[in-house]
């Protein structure tokens, strides 16, 4: 449980990859705790600017959250047209609307064509989501949201102020 978790080439990131602070979230679009965490991280990102790199990886709890897997696959489909983060934000801002019909609606709003929607519904992005999930299990993800800062799992308070305090402490090391 002491492995350092590093950014990978195919991670979705916001902020410079070589930032001094790298925060990786393993999240589930249907998890209410992830939904609560979403604005906290966003505010922390705004406060930190380019000092922070934020990456999101999928960890759908499929038994507990029946829509989480397909939502994750749709976000990966969005990534193919450069709109991963728009879909990420949209899903967390609309956690009550994650059924298949709603996902197709979100996809259309983001400019998916019919072929991409069909591809997302056909499970073409399932392997990518599974890769994140399996890697997360091996990395010691123990629930969602699960945060890693500069490679180490962080189990403390996750509100914006606590995160900013943590960032200051880690940056000072």
């Amino acid at each position: 449980m002491s492995r350092l978790i590093a950014l990978e080439d195919d991670d979705h990131v916001q902020g410079p990859r070589d930032a001094g602070l790298v925060l990786i979230e393993y999240g589930d679009f249907e998890c209410p705790y992830c939904g609560e965490e979403y604005p906290e991280i966003k505010a922390a990102q705004q406060a930190m600017g380019d000092a922070l790199c934020f990456a999101f990886r999928h960890f759908p709890l499929r038994n507990a959250h029946p829509h989480a897997e397909l939502a994750a696959e749709f976000s990966e489909a969005a990534a193919t047209i450069g709109r991963f983060w728009e879909m990420h934000d949209r899903l967390y801002e609309n956690q009550q609307a994650l059924d298949q019909g709603s996902l197709v609606g979100h996809a259309k709003q983001l400019g998916f064509d019919d072929k991409l929607i069909e591809s997302a519904l056909n499970g073409d992005f399932a392997a990518r989501v599974q890769k994140n999930f399996s890697g997360g299990v091996r990395n010691g993800v123990n629930g969602t949201p699960c945060l890693f800062l500069n490679g180490r799992r962080y189990d403390g308070a996750r509100d914006t102020q606590s995160l900013l305090q943590l960032f200051r402490e880690v940056a000072a090391r």
Binding site: M1, A64, V137, T144
Partner: protein, 165 residues
């Protein structure tokens, strides 16, 4: 079984056998599972308020455990009807055993009973197909240990077959 706690079985030692209720109607003995690896998950209580809790996480990983032909068993001091309701609510697909009467006797035999709270500690044991302890870990009670340690231990079992690299 004694009412005082034994020491934790060391790696290389046989895991203490037990027979517990797996459902209100059925019991399960550890010895019945000889021939396949077993993951014993002692946990404090059903109905953890956290959605990403430890038991829910393992329920998502049954296909991973199946690749090792491993059987995972949850054990807490909750009664079998409580386990049945919890399993139904969380859609769990592995057995939860009731270490209920005498309370915590199996946890005590594994040295992982917490007498002040009256519950089991959060402890993990990986047993090989012969019922020998190959890995043991006690997590701080508030910290969900995840599954990486379990999978690493299953990787190291001798004679594992049919595994992806």
């Amino acid at each position: 079984m004694s009412t005082t706690s034994a020491a934790m079985p060391a790696v290389g030692q046989p895991a203490p056998d037990f027979t517990l209720q797996a459902t209100p109607e059925q019991t399960l003995s550890l010895a019945q599972l000889r021939g396949k690896p077993v993951v014993l998950v002692f946990y404090p209580a059903d109905w953890s308020p956290v959605c990403g809790d430890q038991i829910g996480l393992y329920n998502e990983l049954l296909s991973e455990f199946a690749r090792y032909d491993a059987q995972i068993l949850g054990i807490s001091v909750d009664g079998s009807w409580c386990h049945a309701a919890f399993s139904r609510d969380r859609k769990l697909n592995f057995p939860l055993l009731a270490d209920f009467e005498p309370k915590g006797a199996v946890a005590k035999s594994y040295g992982v009973y917490e007498p002040h709270a009256g519950v089991s500690e959060r402890a993990l044991f990986v047993l090989d197909a012969e019922g020998i302890v190959r890995w043991a870990y006690v997590s701080p009670i508030g910290i969900n240990p995840g599954a990486d340690g379990i999978l690493d231990a299953l990787d190291k079992l001798p004679g594992k077959s049919g595994l992806p690299s």
